[in-house]
């Protein structure tokens, strides 16, 4: 009996080791080759002459507009998140707390819209963005991340149901205005939902490729996804440069992830089960 248990443990560790190798293999090769100059041994597993050779990184920072890409990406994420939080909490307060006719209809409108994959409507949204004069501005992705996505409303609607209405009632007995109840009671209590939203949205926007690609072809409006795409297609098979770009893009997110892992796991689990 004791022996069998041990065998199972061994199998578990072997599987975990294999999975870890598979996960680490591609990034490992990227790290090795990011430090190699073009005239070095081109075998992907050969160690670089020096891990202090930052030449590739220097060139990438110069040519791939990485800093600009990070700046634009964080600006878009920041403004979109603020919009999402403000509108999401407002809608959930109005629908979740105030009785009125047509409430079910409005809720249904939001929920039905949440099943339309935004990429399918780009054909029409493209001309809409153009006629609004937003083409080639940072407002194009912001407006789309705020307006064309209803994830925030779905998440906040789920959470506000669990906030007891007695809290609102006792505040009303004290004579608080509804705006004040929204601001000082509901908004803080929706905090966990906001954390979930911030995590899911940040990952989504950071990864979004097609919206920046389609709406912001202008050079200085590059975002992280489009910067690496343009740089890599202009430097086909220049693996040293491409690996350096990948590394520069990955390091900040991996660090952020290691610090925030607990919140990220919770956010992903909440988002999947409730969203």
């Amino acid at each position: 009996m004791k022996k069998k248990w041990d065998l199972l443990q061994v199998i578990k560790y072997v599987l975990l080791a294999i999975a870890s190798l598979v996960v680490l293999f591609p990034p490992y090769v990227v790290v090795l080759n990011a430090f190699k100059s073009t005239d070095e041994n081109s075998s992907p597993f050969a160690l670089p002459a020096s891990f202090l050779n930052f030449e590739n990184f220097r060139i990438v920072f110069e040519k791939a507009h990485i800093l600009q890409a990070f700046g634009n990406t964080f600006l878009v994420i920041g403004v979109s998140l603020i919009g999402n939080i403000v509108f999401g909490t407002m809608v959930s307060y109005a629908i979740g707390r105030i009785p009125f006719r047509g409430k079910r209809l409005i809720m249904a409108l939001f929920l039905i819209a949440s099943i339309i994959p935004t990429i399918t409507t780009q054909v029409v949204i493209f001309s809409l963005i153009q006629s609004l004069g937003l083409f080639n501005t940072l407002m194009a992705p912001i407006v789309l991340f705020v307006g064309a996505d209803v994830l925030q409303i779905v998440i906040y609607m789920q959470f506000i149901r669990n906030i007891p209405y007695e809290l609102d009632e006792s505040a009303m007995i004290d004579g608080a205005s509804l705006l004040r109840i929204y601001r000082s009671i509901i908004l803080p209590l929706l905090g966990p939902a906001t954390v979930t939203l911030v995590i899911l949205k940040t990952i989504n926007i950071y990864n979004e490729l097609y919206i920046p690609f389609l709406y912001m072809p202008k050079q200085n409006l590059v975002m992280v996804s489009t910067s690496i795409m343009r740089f890599a297609s202009n430097n086909q098979a220049q693996w040293g440069y491409i690996c350096a770009t990948i590394l520069i893009i990955m390091i900040p997110t991996v660090l952020l992830y290691l610090f925030l892992q607990r919140y990220i796991f919770a956010g992903v689990t909440n988002g999947a089960v409730k969203g």
Binding site: V123, G147, Y210, S225
Partner: protein
């Protein structure tokens, strides 16, 4: 006092709902309606006049194997998605058991999900590169020369290669979802099963799997609707090649619109995709509701 709240309510309703509803109308319902209208026309994206074609665009989609047929390219993504769920459950069960370094492995297996998708795509371009790629180099070092392939250049292989990238990226994410579900199974149920003489396999089969069935189902539907809308990976890595072998329906749709300026046909294709997505969701809801009644 109640009178004042009545007025406040009206003000709040208008103030809080006006802009979100305007955005919803502008960016969700207006595009969807316009899409449906354009799908019956030959609009080229520029001209102010359109000709009404009736159902011609839809007929074209379903009769032209170059259009509807590309869904066949997306089958490897469905298979990859199923495999991904099996692997994810396996590792969720392993990491839910008593084992050293649990958190380390959990963090490690989830890392690919938080990496930028385009960066991941290029990372795998390097893995799959025929001459300089690390996968062929690895196979060479192991002496497995006959397994070396042109991973992205072979028509029969390219979609499997792409699907495996997506597996690499999402397996940790799926695992975290299963892990969350496993942790909500009360431990005393396992104790009771052990007391009743169930072995480890039996308690996995009769206790763990049934408790996961809702999450499994949810993930299978996500796999299906995800496979319908595959876009980023072939768009970045192969541009649909070689010889159109890795085209997907969505890639074809955007090409039809933005490269060939055939917005009418592209709109009809978008509507078909939207319709298929809605069918999957309806089936999912039906299945889940029936289970809920049982």
């Amino acid at each position: 006092m109640s009178g004042s709240y009545k007025r406040q309510r009206v003000i709040i309703l208008i103030a809080f709902l006006a802009i979100p509803l305007l955005l919803l109308g502008t960016f969700s319902y207006y595009p969807a309606a316009k899409l449906l209208y354009l799908s019956f026309t030959d609009w080229d994206g520029i001209s102010s006049t359109v000709e009404f074609l009736g159902l011609d665009n839809y007929r074209e989609i379903f009769s032209n194997p170059d259009l509807f047929g590309v869904f066949l390219h997306q089958i490897p993504y469905v298979l990859g998605g199923i495999l991904q769920n099996i692997i994810a459950i396996t590792f969720a069960v392993i990491l839910n058991s008593r084992i050293k370094g649990r958190n380390l492995f959990r963090v490690l297996l989830f890392v690919p999900y938080i990496m930028n998708g385009v960066a991941v795509a290029f990372m795998f371009q390097y893995v799959f590169d025929t001459n300089n790629g690390s996968l062929n180099a690895l196979l060479g070092n192991l002496g497995l020369y006959n397994l070396q392939q042109s991973w992205l250049g072979e028509t029969s292989l390219v979609n499997f290669s792409l699907a495996s990238v997506s597996m690499w990226r999402y397996v940790g994410y799926t695992m975290i979802i299963y892990l969350g579900a496993l942790q909500s199974i009360p431990g005393d149920m396992y104790e009771a099963a052990t007391i009743d003489g169930a072995n480890r396999f039996q308690s996995f089969w009769h206790l763990t799997l049934p408790s996961l069935s809702n999450v499994i189902q949810l993930n299978m539907f996500l796999t299906l609707s995800g496979a319908l809308a595959v876009f980023d990976l072939p768009f970045v890595l192969t541009k649909g090649g070689p010889a159109g072998a890795s085209e997907t329906f969505l890639l074809k749709t955007t090409e039809t619109a933005f490269t060939f300026n055939n917005y009418g046909l592209a709109s009809a294709m978008s509507i078909v995709l939207l319709g298929l997505t809605i069918v999957i969701l309806l089936v999912q809801n039906l299945v889940l509701r029936r289970r809920g009644r049982d």
